[in-house]
Amino acid sequence: MLHAIVKAAVDVTAASGGWILARDSGRLTVRAAAGVDIDTAPLAGVSIDEGSGTSGFVIASGQPLALSARADDPRLSEGIAAHLGRRPSTVLCVACESGDNVVGALELIDKSGGATFSFDDVELATLLASIGAVALASGEQAQTAVVSPASLGNDLVRLADVDPARYAVVASAVGALLDRG
């Protein structure tokens, strides 16, 4: 399930790769990764301090971030990306929130064509991260409240009402998740 979520996030945002991190005892551990142009196999089980990298800041601040730097800028290479031996030029990271708790983060790197991640990408990633939070929380058998299917359904209905085109993108991603899950 987590891999399907990451894959869907990579697909809908046109990222080159991404991963979902679980938060536990002050560490962030890669639970699933997927890439289009990136071999994410080296990330299996990689763990970092939860205060490091973009994901660490997003978890601490509660705010999603989309960052873009020059290709030779090393500042986005901290955290999980460092384990890929790669210098991302763009990073998008959103928190996975379950009830009152941040249980992890979804991080995506290097949007195709050198483009920057858009606000649409932030929203799409946020929606998928909320599904990922459910998977993370249930996987850990955590005693935390999770987003109900009805709540997610209502969000989708609202999106369909206000922006059918974006709804179509999200619906496609969720449909792919169901197929894979």
Binding site: G51, A60, G62, R75, D155, R158, L159
Partner: protein
């Protein structure tokens, strides 16, 4: 008895009246974040380094402050300070560092930093962060009310997700999300609270670590744009209370001045905000126009 001897008509609330000629002089702004790189060339020495505060947690998990110079653990606080400085160049900015090593997700440190800012009477407090911990909600509510009554304008970044984020849900603060503008002074009013204002937050070129810059997107960059505007307003009109500053921002918002539906501004994250019908349904704005 309360005297209202300087009555201002709503028709007077133009951008020129509100901040024309203002530089932010005399205004103190607190940035509660990851710290500030005070030597960043974009900040031109606007940071009150000696009176900065770093909040840490003791062995008993109780927060305590250390006053003095400190750096930025991530770059985000420097980015927020740079935005505020670009709008209000003569405002003095103080860093209250609550994010960094050993402080991840510590609502106690965040609350203590906000409480310290309120105690010190900052004119504007920028919070480009929040917590979803409901067990801390009441404590944040009380501190934000204290800020309101003491005259501090608290500006917060809205959350992007369905879950509540504190203190951005409170009426005593100015909650801000992104609009689609590239003009740093062009902001919008959202008639569907709790997020009441929209400002620039997409592809913003901001100051960052290592004295460099970076392009970034997020509501956390929209908030300091409103903080900067609030600093300009408070500099020119120091007598205004927080609710009056909010009213001035409403009256000078682009969509209110131009009486256009806020849809033209962009959108709030309507796909994931429960209980709202989206920012598009704002024809009622015409009825809110100051001149009417």
């Amino acid at each position: 008895m309360v005297r209202l001897d300087k009555a201002v008509s709503l028709d007077d609330l133009t951008p020129e009246w509100a901040w024309g000629g203002s530089t932010g002089a005399g205004v103190r702004v607190a940035v509660i974040d990851s710290g500030i790189d005070a030597d960043h060339p974009d900040l031109h020495g606007c940071v009150d380094v000696d009176n900065g505060v770093m909040v840490a947690l003791g062995d008993d998990d109780e927060p305590f402050e250390t006053i003095g110079p400190h750096g930025d653990s991530f770059g985000h606080g420097t980015a927020c300070a740079g935005i505020i400085h670009s709008l209000a160049p003569e405002a003095r900015i103080t860093s209250i560092k609550v994010l960094g090593e050993g402080l991840t997700g510590k609502a106690a440190a965040f609350l203590r930093g906000l409480g310290w800012a309120v105690e010190q009477g900052f004119d504007v407090v920028n919070l480009s962060l929040g917590t979803n911990r409901r067990d801390w909600a009441l404590a944040f509510y009380e501190v934000c009310d204290q800020a309101y009554f003491r005259g501090s304008v608290v500006v917060t970044a809205a959350n992007n997700v369905t879950r509540a984020s504190f203190p951005s849900m409170y009426a005593s603060v100015l909650s801000v999300a992104c609009n689609l503008s590239t003009d740093p002074k062009r902001f919008h009013y959202n008639p569907e609270p709790p997020t009441e204002f929209l400002a620039r937050g997409i592809d913003v070129d901001v100051a960052w670590l290592d004295h460099g810059r970076i392009s970034s997107t997020g509501n956390s960059y929209a908030a300091p744009h409103i903080s900067g505007m609030a600093a300009l307003i408070r500099s020119k009109h120091p007598e205004l209370r927080p609710f009056q500053v909010k009213a001035v921002l409403w009256a000078t918002a682009a969509n209110v001045r131009e009486a256009q539906p806020a849809q033209a501004a962009g959108r709030l994250t309507n796909m994931i905000r429960p209980g709202t019908t989206s920012i598009r349904a704002t024809t009622a704005l015409r009825g809110l126009r100051p001149s009417l």
